[in-house]
């Protein structure tokens, strides 16, 4: 790599440069690190966890014309390299080449928010002390200019002993300088003496002095952030906006998603018919049409709903409103023993518990964090939607309650959301006053300025989510569908498929029937409950497959078949069961990883399972008595 060899600074003791260059992106939170990373790597990135720890690592590839491909690592946002928190330890380990399975970076892009240069420049001291070729990337150049700030880049580079680029990661301005640097086309100034790293006040003074020498003129405070905050944090208007945002998000998810879901549904149906006509009659056609299309297709329909939910969470997060929401929620969260920072993971748990549980790592207090992990799966995740929607539509006729604003079905759905939330709150209270009791930890949260979310950033996020969802549909749900179809077709009788009741699947269902009969469920529901241990929405596919094999249609047919097999009381019990039970392998796996062992996930699975059974039993008895 001739490009690398022109850089004067190289770690000592390295004879030949490695075949590919590895670039680490480092920076404080809210400096635009991820935006830069996304701009560098685009769609060519993957998200994983660093081995052995809970910190997410983003890896991507960057090809600069006619040069070899570069690996780009996006490190967690940190204010310092003191290895106190997990994020800081990981960042330091990766930069020192001590992280197993992660290539040692040979180049660093240190991204800092130029509108807050003095404070952000503090991080330059420990990063430059590592001795790796480093480009100081000053982000938010457009904002600095708009708000009347200024800085002399060349002077700063000279004083820092490192090249400096002034860019805007959002618009791409100045991006070329970064590529030039990565190609080794930018000279590195002579290194300078750095302040003692463990002396924070001295480091801050050093940063202030550098700023003054580079004629740094801090920008005026962001006017729009003040204006928006005086509304969003207004004693009366603030909570109202907060409520409106939460209700609006849910309303849109249900109303806006419906036509899109119809579209996917029709596409799935049409393609299934087409494939069915192309295949000869026989077991293969049955497997493909009933097993795969019936199973996977009935879950795919929910992609639009899930994407709309993630679109909102992305917009709220990127705009900066989520930090205000955490502030408003803090008092309420404090009442159940948690803190405002638990609000963000819990809100994203409405989409999916897996990213929510990963997001709990922003909570420094270990006990608060575990409590948040334990209650997150009670929040009504998007995988429950298919189940709820199906059962409610099958049993509850739609009648308007509040004119056009609220119908019985939406009200029932809202009730289930409240039920899950109540279970979470009660559980949190119990945990925080018993096994997870702790000192109240200080709630310290930086309020970033409001920023306009970029299409690119939000789009990438949605792309990422679709990939995860489709991968799940293509693996877990596909495998379960095929397995179930197989179990429903053996043992063969006289070379013919058995009645489903006599098949292996039927036998398994009848074996668990005594356990679930008190809840009003028969063996067919039992099969669904077992397959939905993999993922909740699988039950819809399973019932689709079972009734498909029985010769019923899907869609309205599935609803009719359900009405045949469940009493209204049983339907309520099934809804309650799904509200409480932890039927999700991915969540169990992520809890095990985040808590570092099997203790918590086993405890959680058992607790939620018992609560689900008892809750469903009570619901069944209660509704049966009421309807009698």
């Amino acid at each position: 790599m001739n490009a690398a060899s022109t850089l004067p600074v190289r770690p000592a003791g390295e004879a030949a440069p490695p075949p590919s260059r590895v670039v680490a992106v480092v920076g404080p939170p809210n400096s635009g690190k991820s935006t830069l990373f996304n701009r560098l790597t685009g769609l060519r990135q993957k998200v994983a966890n660093f081995p052995g720890v809970t910190v997410e690592q983003h890896l991507g590839k960057l090809r600069i014309e006619d040069e070899a491909e570069l690996d780009v690592i996006d490190l967690p946002g940190v204010y310092s390299l003191n290895p106190r928190s997990e994020d800081e330890r990981v960042t330091l380990d990766v930069l020192m080449g001590r992280m197993e399975g992660v290539p040692r970076p040979d180049t660093i892009l240190l991204i800092l928010d130029v509108t807050n240069l003095g404070r952000h420049l503090v991080l330059a001291a420990p990063v430059l002390a590592l001795g790796l070729p480093t480009l100081i990337v000053l982000n938010m150049a457009d904002e600095l200019e708009r708000r009347g700030g200024d800085v002399q880049v060349e002077e700063l580079a000279r004083r820092l002993g490192a090249p400096v680029a002034l860019i805007s990661a959002a618009s791409g301005e100045g991006y070329d300088t970064i590529l030039q640097f990565l190609r080794g086309r930018i000279g590195i100034p002579r290194p300078v003496e750095l302040p003692a790293l463990n002396d924070l006040p001295r480091c801050r003074e050093w940063a202030a002095r550098l700023g003054a020498e580079a004629k740094y003129l801090p920008p005026a405070p962001p006017v729009w952030t003040r204006r928006l905050d005086s509304l969003f944090l207004h004693p009366v208007a603030g909570p109202l906006v907060f409520l409106a945002v939460v209700v609006g998000v849910f309303q849109t998810i249900f109303s806006a998603a419906a036509p899109l879901m119809d579209l996917v549904d029709r596409a799935v149906g049409a393609s299934g018919d087409l494939v069915g006509r192309l295949l000869p009659d026989g077991p293969l056609r049955s497997l493909v049409v009933e097993g795969i299309w019936g199973g996977v297709g009935s879950v795919l329909v929910f992609l639009p709903q899930i994407l709309i939910l993630f679109l909102f969470i992305g917009l709220l997060e990127d705009s900066g409103y989520l930090a205000r929401a955490a502030l408003i929620a803090d008092r309420t969260m404090a009442k159940v023993g948690l803190q405002g920072k638990s609000f963000i993971p819990l809100l994203s748990a409405y989409a999916c518990a897996v990213p929510a549980i990963m997001a709990t790592r922003t909570i420094e207090n270990k006990r608060d964090r575990i409590a948040t992990i334990l209650i997150a799966p009670f929040m009504t995740c998007s995988a429950r939607l298919p189940v709820y929607t199906l059962i409610i539509a099958a049993f509850l006729p739609e009648t308007p309650l509040l004119g056009p604003f609220l119908g019985t079905r939406a009200a029932a759905l809202l009730g289930l959301y409240v039920l899950g939330f109540a279970a979470a709150v009660v559980t949190a209270r119990v945990l925080k006053s018993s096994i997870l009791k702790s000192e109240r930890t200080p709630f310290v949260l930086e309020m970033p300025p409001y920023r306009r979310p970029t299409l690119r950033q939000v789009g990438l996020r949605l792309f990422d989510r679709s990939k995860v969802f489709l991968r799940r549909a293509g693996t877990v749900i596909l495998a379960m569908s095929i397995l179930l179809w197989g179990l429903a077709h053996v043992p063969t009788k006289n070379g013919k498929a058995p009645e489903i009741a006599d098949s292996f699947a039927g036998t398994i269902g009848r074996t668990v029937e005594p356990l679930i009969e008190p809840l009003g469920f028969n063996w067919k529901i039992g099969i669904g409950l077992i397959t939905s241990l993999a993922a909740r929405e699988v039950i819809v596919g399973t019932l689709g497959t079972i009734y498909g094999i029985e010769g019923e249609d899907d869609g309205a047919g599935l609803q009719a078949a359900l009405r045949h097999d469940l009493t209204p009381a049983g339907a309520v019990a099934l809804l309650v069961f799904f509200a409480f039970a932890m039927q999700c392998m991915s969540t169990i796996a992520v809890v095990r990883r985040e808590t570092g062992g099997w203790t918590w996930p086993i405890l959680q699975f058992t607790y939620m399972g018992v609560l689900a059974w008892v809750g469903a039993f009570v619901a069944f008895r209660l509704v049966t008595a009421l309807l009698a």
Binding site: G118, R119, P201, D229, L327, D330, F443, M447
Partner: protein, 90 residues
Amino acid sequence: MPHTRPPATLLDLRKGEEAILDRIDLPDDVSLRLMELGFLPGSRVAASFRAPGGDPRVFRVDGTEVALRCETAARLHLRPLPKPGAASAT
């Protein structure tokens, strides 16, 4: 009266009011984290918005805004501005 006595901790600052941070009376790990966010002894701190209900509160320090619960803010001790009336934006 609180109007005549200079504010002793961050909790005593009224919205828009400004003072100099003197010391942080909190465990090391918390105070270091606060220092990283800009709460260094000797720096200017101004009270900004509050959450509806008054707790937590937002403070403006070193070019950024940070939210703290009242119980934490009460542990950040202040000294008055050197020259009253010479307040300038941080």
